[in-house]
Amino acid sequence: MGKLLQKRGRTEAEIPMSSMADIAFLLLIFFLVTTTIDVDTGIGMVLPPKLEEDVEPPPIKERNVLKILVNEQGMVLVEDEPSSVQLIRNLVTTHVLNYGQDPRYSESPGQALVSIKTSRETPYNAYVDVLDEVWMGYFEMWDSEARSLGYENYAQYVDVVVDGQDAPNAIREKIKAQISIAEPDQN
């Protein structure tokens, strides 16, 4: 017995340490790859600057404005006619790409404006739905514009021309997304 114990004490039990570096590297790479910093997505807008007290806002022709009203129940009124959220996309494209043909719609894409007006009690998601459809209308117009220039879609155009060559965005210059968020009536 004594001899056995002595022998056990003498043998050195060693874990191979040479692969430790690889294990650490693997761990490091695993966490590097799996960590996702969640990206914030949303609908970007630019608010109009604060109006000076004595400066009148520039005059806008009635026909160039596509008025969209959203009420407390999320119901939609476009140009004083009852409409639905799904129809807005096409109404925006016909309004912007009218080129003065129909007297109800805009004179040119550069002058076309979309105005969204809500009441104070309108739920936020009804407003976002409408705003989303308006933006989708613009995205569709930009997509077809990019296709006519020989690109697959608008995103590719932005990648190749705008970001690649640092050039101005000609499509957005031509069809400007002019969306105004109107203040609700006081009553």
């Binding site: 914030d40 970007g44 630019v46 009690e121 739920p123 936020y124 407003y127 976002v128 739905d129 989303d132």
Partner: protein, 150 residues
């Protein structure tokens, strides 16, 4: 002289690799310990609406958040609609302009991300937007989730 050179050439010039794992572990642990994920306890409920026409915000450091939604109370109850910036609830909407103006001075290219609960009423959102116009922080972003295909 020549013998001297010969002697030098014979010696092995190797960096000991045995301590490499320790160094990497130390680095790993150092970064694990020092990384502080800035945590903000959101005191309002914000269930974001869904949208299709969305874009990503690439530069995260430009973003400042404003939360609008019903206040979270005990026992999963929800209170009145409140506005939160950073860590504090905003009692008076009129103070937003000074808070946001200070942020704009620090970061001139500030983007304000509005994380609004889908059930909130537009009145509150429009009030906040009016304050943002006063503060001249005009770049905003309505935070939305990507719409799932129907």
């Amino acid at each position: 002289m020549s013998t001297h050179f010969k002697k030098k050439a014979k010696t092995k010039q190797e960096i000991p690799m045995a301590s490499l794992p320790d160094i990497i572990f130390m680095l790993l642990i150092f970064f694990m310990v020092t990384t502080v994920l800035r945590e903000q306890t959101v005191q309002v409920r914000t269930v974001l609406p869904q949208a299709e026409a969305i874009s990503k915000i690439e530069q995260k450091r430009l973003v400042s958040y404003i939360w609008i939604g019903p206040m979270k109370l005990e026992n999963n109850r929800l209170g009145e609609t409140a506005v939160q910036i950073d860590d504090a609830l905003i009692e008076d909407v009129g103070t937003i302009r000074t808070v946001m103006y200070r942020k704009l001075v620090e970061q001139p290219r500030l983007i304000v991300s509005l994380r609004v609960d889908e059930t909130s009423e537009m009145g509150k959102v429009l009030d906040v937007q009016q304050e943002l116009r006063e503060a001249n922080t005009l770049r905003i972003n309505y935070s939305t989730k990507r719409q799932l295909a129907n």
